[in-house]
Amino acid sequence: MTSFPAAAPNLVDRILAPGGLRVELQPILDVEGALTTVHSYECLSRGPAGTNMASADVLFEYIRRKKIEQNMDRVCIEAGLEAGSRLPGLPHFAVNVHAITIATDPDLPAFLKKAASARGISTSRLTVEIVEHAPTWHEGSFLETLTRLRELGIQIALDDVGLGHSNYKMILEANPDYLKIDRFFVTNCHNDRKRRAVIRSIAELAHEFEATVIAEGVETREEFDWLCDQGVRLFQGYFFSRPRPVEALMENTWRENLAVAVSHKRSNA
């Protein structure tokens, strides 16, 4: 017999409560010649299991509609760094921060420093990925906060380049260290002349800005091979490793699959 569920706590409270988010880490690989290393891990958050918010797309759309990006970003940073701090060695981490948070939260650099320090992570091991570049990103303390993040040794990445508000003006003013090419352009790029043109254009832009391209959403060997041939070095996607809980990453089996994937490219080179 199905029973009527007990009254659930407010959804926002559930998401923001300690332990309300599930964290998965996805490696970003640096493939250069015969050497493949983990460049960094992107910290990704999912909502409570069994709710609509278990889907990242739904979760962050909800957060933006509730206009609680700033609270959410802080909770995600804490949860992501907490999970990441359990990995051995001194890995680097990328944390996602909404542009509106950077523009309206002048205490973000201090918060990041404290959150990282509490977990034994140097801020020089952090990259802030700017996401959802709302049209108001340039207001408030956006550029000043970016400067202060850089003073802490934190690098800046621009997410979803080519989509939404991730435009030339943003690239010009934020002067990111990394341009992340969205999966929309990467998917099937080896077969699509127009996608190839967009990727080449972003790569050229990155070169002029002395930024590094990260290709997101790489899922096939063909995409990987073509991107390698364009000089892309940093990769992220299911072809290498899906996002995993930190426990699964520590098992290291994903590294064996990775070795097979990358060695295939070399054998064809």
Binding site: F4, P5, L11, N52, S55, D57, V58, E61, Y62, R65
Partner: protein, 127 residues
């Protein structure tokens, strides 16, 4: 075997969500539920539904936010049918809902089998 019909139920009362969700699930629908408009909007941004059943009044809005739902859904997903349920429906509000393109405007309380029958008829017209 055909794909199950997809339905989104929006109501701030958990009991109503639960009752509608259970009933339509048993009938073979694939059901999502949302307790507030922002949650519904977040779902609608990434998933497509054939039918949305929403309360006219949702917590945190002015009392006729269901009308906004009708407009928003028809702008984004013109093929999606919208059914509004209300316990406070004046003739004026109903007229406005119809003007905005609502497909059914039902007054509570309404027996679940009757809601399901109307939903079936609406989706049959779409098919």
């Amino acid at each position: 075997m055909s794909e199950p019909k997809t339905i989104l139920i929006v109501d701030d009362e958990e009991f109503i969500r639960f009752a509608l969700s259970e009933y339509f699930s048993v009938l073979g629908y694939r059901v999502d539920v949302a307790g507030e408009w922002e949650e519904a909007e977040a779902l609608l941004a990434s998933r497509r539904y054939q039918l949305v059943i929403s309360d006219l009044r949702l917590t945190g809005f002015g009392g006729t936010e269901g009308l906004e739902i009708v407009r928003s859904i028809h702008q984004r997903w013109p093929g999606t049918r919208v059914m509004l349920l209300t316990g406070y429906g004046s003739g004026e509000v109903k007229a406005e809902a119809v003007r905005r393109g609502v497909d059914a405007f039902l007054e509570k309380p309404m027996p679940l089998p009757e809601i399901a029958r109307i939903a079936d008829c609406m989706l049959a017209r779409t098919a």
